[in-house]
């Protein structure tokens, strides 16, 4: 229940942030990586750093993360198959052999079928996610956005302490 409330809060805050639809969408596309791929891996530290350092919506990133976590769990069998086919492809064997025998790179765990499969899936989906999110945010703001902004619910959400911290990272 709390997770659901947090998700709603995050959605509301992000959709009404000062960021452009493109910034929100870029944040969501980056955040999708955190949700789609298993979290504790080196590549996610890099993605998280991009989310913080690049001028994209951090809230959008958190929203993307939250939205894509359940999708990641659901698609694990598919990621496993994608990863396995890539890792067992004879033409790619030299690449994986070099990758797993180079300092630091093995900590990405790309020799795991789920990690590699989900990462590749994210790479493929990142651009469609970006465009879909940008279209969605722009459409929302043009239609029901202003009415929501005037509602008590929105005011309650934005008045919370967490929102102040969040404002620090807003684009």
């Amino acid at each position: 229940m709390i997770a659901l409330l947090k998700l709603i809060q995050s959605i509301i805050k992000t959709l009404h942030s000062a960021g452009t639809p493109g910034q929100v969408a870029a944040g969501m596309a980056l955040g999708a990586a955190l949700g789609l791929t298993p979290l504790v891996n080196l590549h996610n530290l890099v993605i998280f750093s991009f989310l913080v350092l690049l001028n994209v919506s951090f809230g959008g990133g958190m929203l993307g993360w939250m939205l894509f976590v359940p999708i990641g769990f659901l698609l694990d069998p598919l990621f496993d198959r994608i990863g396995l086919s890539l890792l067992t492809a004879p033409s790619l064997r030299p690449l994986w052999t070099d990758w797993t025998n180079t300092p630091i790179l093995p900590y990405t765990n790309f020799n795991n079928t789920i990690v590699l499969g989900s990462f590749v899936a994210w790479l493929v989906l990142a651009v469609p996610i970006f465009f879909a999110a940008r279209y969605g945010v722009a459409k929302y703001r043009a239609t029901v956005g202003e009415r929501v902004r005037q509602s008590r619910f929105y005011k309650a959400v934005t008045a919370s302490q967490a929102y102040n911290i969040y404002k620090m990272f807003r684009p």
Binding site: V52, N55, W96, T97, P103, N109, N112, F169
Partner: protein
């Protein structure tokens, strides 16, 4: 408007976050590493591994493990190894590649076979080690270790045999069915041969020519007659070849019937053994006594060696091909993690050198100088290029406990793997064990024991030998649970008189099809004594068993034997008769042919026509 790409003000918070992550890592790395080590080692070895403490020394790339206990997977109340402190010096370059290369291992306070405060938890799950444990347990069940039967003769019951239990009856019914099938097949075969028309037409032609004078036929008539004789001879020859082929098939069928009869005899032997087992006659065959006394304890020793050899096969595979393994346990699916070994690079795990030297002083039984080395233990032997060598020894001059020597070589460099291990223990207190089927416990006392184990080509060749030798064996009869019968008392008396024990158990064959043989100085002594006391009674009981089985199966076996003999005789006779008929007409035709050819040019002998 120009959009700013970087959010410079976030650099500070990001660095702060990284510092917090670093702090958390610093605080929790050791407990997490300890738990992970315990978990991973337990999963890897298939037995509970406990660590009291784990200290990381990042500057030295070293790890200290304290209070290590590795439980014995086969005796959960004991530890296989216990060590007070283990210092591992790791290779930092390998760590950067997420590989563990232990350059040096030093160990203090190592003990073997210590009692655990709490029994270890049996390792469950679908991991490799529990699977190996189960398969090794299953492996031990294939040995048919006889149970020593010492039922008193006066309790032998009247033999009550149910004919339906006898294999012979079922076998006879099956043979009768098969004999009938063979008979039908022979009939059909004779019909398909269709010899009669050929014989009849040949005989008719021969009769007709016999009544004809070749001189009256003229040249053209004689030529036609010769041609028709030659044609008929060819038909006769073809029929003979068909008959020969049929004869071969018939012989095969008759041979099978003979085999069937032999299987009936074998079934009868099985029924004798089965009926004998119902009487529970006392065992006095020396090999059976040896197996009954020491079979189980020998198999227990061999199965432990096999368990570790199987684990080595799994964790030290030959070659450099990519290796899939289950991924890490996490909320998300584990997937598979594939290792990609590369030449001239570090393997995923390597223990380059482990040196253990320490001395236990004083006057305790364990005093002595201990030395152990481990070298080249690796997950990718092909990269390391040398076999793994493990050796441990203990010397205590002047002590009653003489020596312990253990050495093992695991050669997995190529696909022709060879694992061998030898353990020699002299002047040590050998563990006592129960004798199955008897209220008797053997305490070998101080003695010597050795175990050699060799497994080649992943179990295709297996060879092992376990020996115990003691001059101060004691036999403890446990008569509190039940009073031993006369025969058991006799055996107890015989073994109690023996002060020395010499057992040799040998295992051969392959892992899939092992062969176990056991001999000991007890076998003959017990067997001779039992034979002298109950031999005549047992022989009488065996005669009774034979008579009983024969009486139940004879009226069913004899008709089938007669049926088989009749089919065999009939088949042979029919083939012979057909052969004779064909030979006869062939001879007649040849006579007529000779007569015809002599008339073509009288006085000139024509060359023989070869058909």
């Amino acid at each position: 408007m120009r959009i700013q790409v970087f959010r410079w003000k976030a650099v500070g918070p990001l660095l702060g976050l990284l510092v917090i992550l670093g702090l958390l890592l610093w605080i929790f790395a050791e407990p997490v590493a300890k738990d992970t080590t315990e978990e991973a080692s337990t999963e890897l070895l298939g037995t509970q591994v406990d660590l009291a403490k784990l200290d990381l020394f990042p500057r030295d790339a070293a790890v200290d493990l304290r209070g290590l206990q590795i439980a014995n997977p086969f005796v959960l109340s004991r530890n296989l190894i216990e060590a007070d402190e283990i210092r591992l010096k790791l290779n930092p370059n390998a760590l950067a590649e997420k590989k563990i290369v232990i350059e040096n291992l030093s160990l203090q306070g190592m003990r073997f076979g210590t009692e655990r405060e709490k029994p270890a938890r049996p390792v469950k799950g679908s991991g490799f080690a529990p699977q190996v444990y189960q398969s090794v347990e299953q492996w031990t069940k294939q040995f048919n270790v006889p149970l020593l039967s010492l039922t008193p003769i006066d309790t032998i019951r009247q033999l009550a045999l149910n004919p339906e239990q006898l294999t012979t009856i079922r076998e006879v019914q099956s043979v009768a069915g098969r004999t009938d099938s063979v008979r039908k097949a022979l009939d059909e075969g004779f019909q398909q041969l269709d010899i009669r028309p050929t014989v009849d037409s040949a005989r008719a032609l021969a009769d007709q020519l016999a009544k004809t004078d070749p001189k009256k036929l003229g040249v053209d008539g004689t030529r036609k007659a010769i041609e028709s004789v030659q044609q008929t001879l060819k038909q006769v020859d073809a029929a003979k070849r068909r008959l020969e082929a049929f004869e071969r098939n018939t012989r095969t069928g008759i041979g099978l019937l003979g085999q069937n009869l032999r299987s009936v005899d074998e079934a009868r032997q099985k029924d004798f053994a089965f009926a004998k087992s119902l009487l529970k006659l006392p065992t006095f065959s020396a090999p059976e006594i040896g197996s009954a006394f020491f079979g189980q304890v020998s198999i227990d020793r061999f199965k432990q060696a096999l368990y570790w050899a199987e684990l080595a096969q799994k964790y030290m595979p030959p070659g450099l091909l990519p290796r899939p393994a289950p991924g890490p346990q996490r909320l998300r699916a584990a997937g598979e993690t594939i290792e990609f070994p590369k030449e001239k690079e570090f393997p995923r795990f390597l223990l380059q050198q482990g040196q253990i030297d320490f001395t236990i002083g004083g006057s305790s039984a364990a005093r002595g100088a201990y030395a152990a080395t481990v070298a080249g233990l690796t997950s990718t032997p092909a990269l390391y290029g040398k076999p793994a060598v493990i050796s441990a020894s203990r010397r205590a001059s002047g002590s009653a406990l003489a020596s312990i020597d253990v050495d093992a070589i695991l050669n997995h460099i190529s696909s022709r793997t060879h694992d061998s291990a030898n353990a020699r223990l002299q002047g040590i207190k050998l563990p006592s064990f129960d004798v199955p089927g008897l209220p008797l416990r053997v305490d070998p006392g101080l003695g010597s024991s050795s175990l050699s184990f060799s497994m080649k080509n992943a179990g295709a060749q297996l060879s092992a030998r376990w020996t115990i030798r003691s001059d101060k064996v004691s036999w403890v009869a446990d008569t509190t649970a039940r009073r031993p019968n006369d025969l058991e008392r006799l055996v107890l008396r015989v073994v109690s008189g023996l002060a020395n024990l010499d057992v040799v158990a040998e295992l051969g064959g392959s892992v899939r099809s092992p062969k176990l043989s056991i001999s000991s100085n007890l076998d003959k002594a017990v067997a001779d004594r039992l034979k002298a006391v109950v031999g005549e009674e047992v022989a009488r009981a065996e005669r009774l068993v034979r008579a009983k089985v024969d009486s139940l199966v004879a009226d069913k076996v004899e008709p089938v034997k007669r049926q088989v003999a009749a089919v065999q005789a009939q088949a042979t006779q029919r083939v012979e008769a057909e052969k004779q008929r064909l030979d006869q007409v062939e001879k007649q035709l040849n006579v007529e042919l000779k007569r015809l050819t002599a008339g073509v040019v009288p006085g000139i002998k024509l060359p023989k026509i070869k058909l």
